[in-house]
Structure formats: C-alpha cells, structure tokens
Amino acid sequence: MAASAQDELYAETAQTYGAAIERLARAYEADADLRRDLVQDIHVALWRSFAAFEGRCSLRTWLYRIAHNVGASHVLRQRRIRDQELVGLEELENLPDANGLQAADRSHALDRLLGLIQRLKPMDRHVILSYLEGLDAALIGEITGLSAANVATKVHRIKNMLARQFQLGGSAS
C-alpha cells in the first residue's frame, strides 16, 4: 500500500475512533502514565497495520482487532510484572449482587465497571468491551473469531452480570 494511502486510512480511523481507542486503553491499563504509552502503542500499531490492510473487513473491525491485540499483549506483558490473577466471565457472574448502584453514583459505577473489566481474561475482556461499545453480535464474532453461539453465551452472561451489579435507571434486557 502506498504511504499516502496508509496515512489517510490511519488519519480517518484515528479521527473517527479516537475516543473508542482511549476507552479501550482504560480497560487495559489503570495507571495513567502506562495508559498514555498504551494509547500511543495502539496508534503506532494501527498505522503500521494499514500497510497490510486489503479492505477484506471494515475499518471498524480492523481497528478493534488491532487495538484489542495490542491491549491483550500489554496485559500479558504486565502480567509478568504484576501478580494479579485474571478471571473469566463466569466468576464475575457469580459475584454477589451490588445492591444496585443508582444513577447518582455514576462516577463510582464507572470506576467499578472498569475494575471489573480489568480483572477479566483477554477474550472475555474483548467481548465485554465490544458489547459496551455497542457492537452487535455479528461484529463481535468477526472481531474475536468466536462462533455466533459462543458470542451469544458470553453476551448473555455479560448482561446478567451487569444487571446484577448496576442499576442505572434502565433495565438490562
């Protein structure tokens, strides 16, 4: 791919999904300094990846794949330094109810949500982040490589867990 086309694709994606990249980075790194490095790593990986982009999937799918892979590799690298055990959705689903964090507690709710996400193993973290970003099941399957049935099971678990842990003025379907 020509360098100018690579630059243009990167600029378009960074412009459209810059905020999503920041949100994903928050889910992969709690420390502000390390998170800034992670965001920059995602941008560099994204730019480099466009040299190999052949348009076989949408820019959005491509972006989420790259960003999640950089995030997962960051988590695995940090895992060697920090001795924090990662858990699956099943474990979070079995957490005791939080007695409904109300709308007034939104900032606490966000912190709590981030805390839960940051404990998850890479694949489950990808799925919950994709769900929170509002991606549909088909797109989640395309990004993660999971089957439709697997995605449906995981999304069901996520909804259950969120319903039990958060009550923010709406019903989790």
Partner: protein, 190 residues
Amino acid sequence: MNQLENPVQKLWQDQPVKEIKMPIEEIRRRAGRFERKIRWRNIREYVASLIAVGLFVYFLATSHDLLSRVTFALFIAAMLWIVVALHRKGSAKKLPEGADTLTSLRFYRAELERQREVVGNVWWWYLAPLVPGFVVYTIGYAVKFPRPAAWLGLALMDVIVAGMFYVIWRMNLRAARCLDKMITELNGAE
C-alpha cells in the same frame, strides 16, 4: 452501531476521555525506532556468534598440535550448531496484521510454547554441544603439561565451567516453569 439497549453501555460510552492526538511524523518516528530496535537485536546476536567463530578459526589456524586443533574445531562446530539452533528455534514469529482475537491468543500461546521449548531444552542445543570441546581441551592440556600443579589448575577450571553450565541450566529451567504458568493461564483465556 446498534441502538444502546443497556444503560451501562451509555455509562461506558459517555465517560469523559481526553484524546491523544499523534501527528503522522511522530508515529513514523516511533514505528521506525521499533523496527530499528528489532533489526539491531538480530544483528547483534549474529555478529556476536560470528566474532566467537572467527576467534576459534584464528586459534585453529595458529595452533600447532593435533589436540588443540581438534579442540578448536569442536568449538567451531558447537558454535555453528548453536547459531543454527537459535535461528531455527529462537526466531520470534510475527502475528499477522488484523488477526482476530482467537487467532492472536493462539499465536501468543504458540510463541510461549516455542520459548518454553527453547529454554527447557537448553542442555541439548546450547550446553551439550560445547562439552566435547571442553573434554578434548582438558585431555590435551593434561597430556601437554603432565604436572600435578597443572592438573590441579585444570581441575579447578573444569569445576568452574561445570558450575557455570549448572547455573545456566537451572536459570533456564526456572524460566521454563514461569512460561509454563503463563501458558496455563492463556489456555483458559479463550
């Protein structure tokens, strides 16, 4: 993007974020730095091996007795064996760009398994090939200097070399156990 069905999705998407803007020049600079780092690491490994082989070739060419020549020839063969083994087993693969999560997690696991095999078998591909050279060197030296004092010095050197081999082997076994733990964690990551 589909319509938000869950208030937690709104909470997530409405969170305040401070976007980092990176100019293309800065991204190119960082990407270039990353690629140079990888290239130099590879060059460094091969240059170090070539220097070691070059030194042994020099010693081989300038030595006069048969046992010394055999010793250096064995060390050269061992170094070449190690370089080839390192190239075949130790070269890091590259994750295909845009791979889905499942593929990337399987890739990371395969990479960890490859690294575990390298450090777990360090005796066979790194240490054992050096042993014949040391054995012939010991015999040659003992034959050349048949004095108890020389033999004592020789025995001390052999003990130090054996100690270094043991430390390298133990360190690699510990690294293999650490990799095993990470592989076990990744097994459940899908």
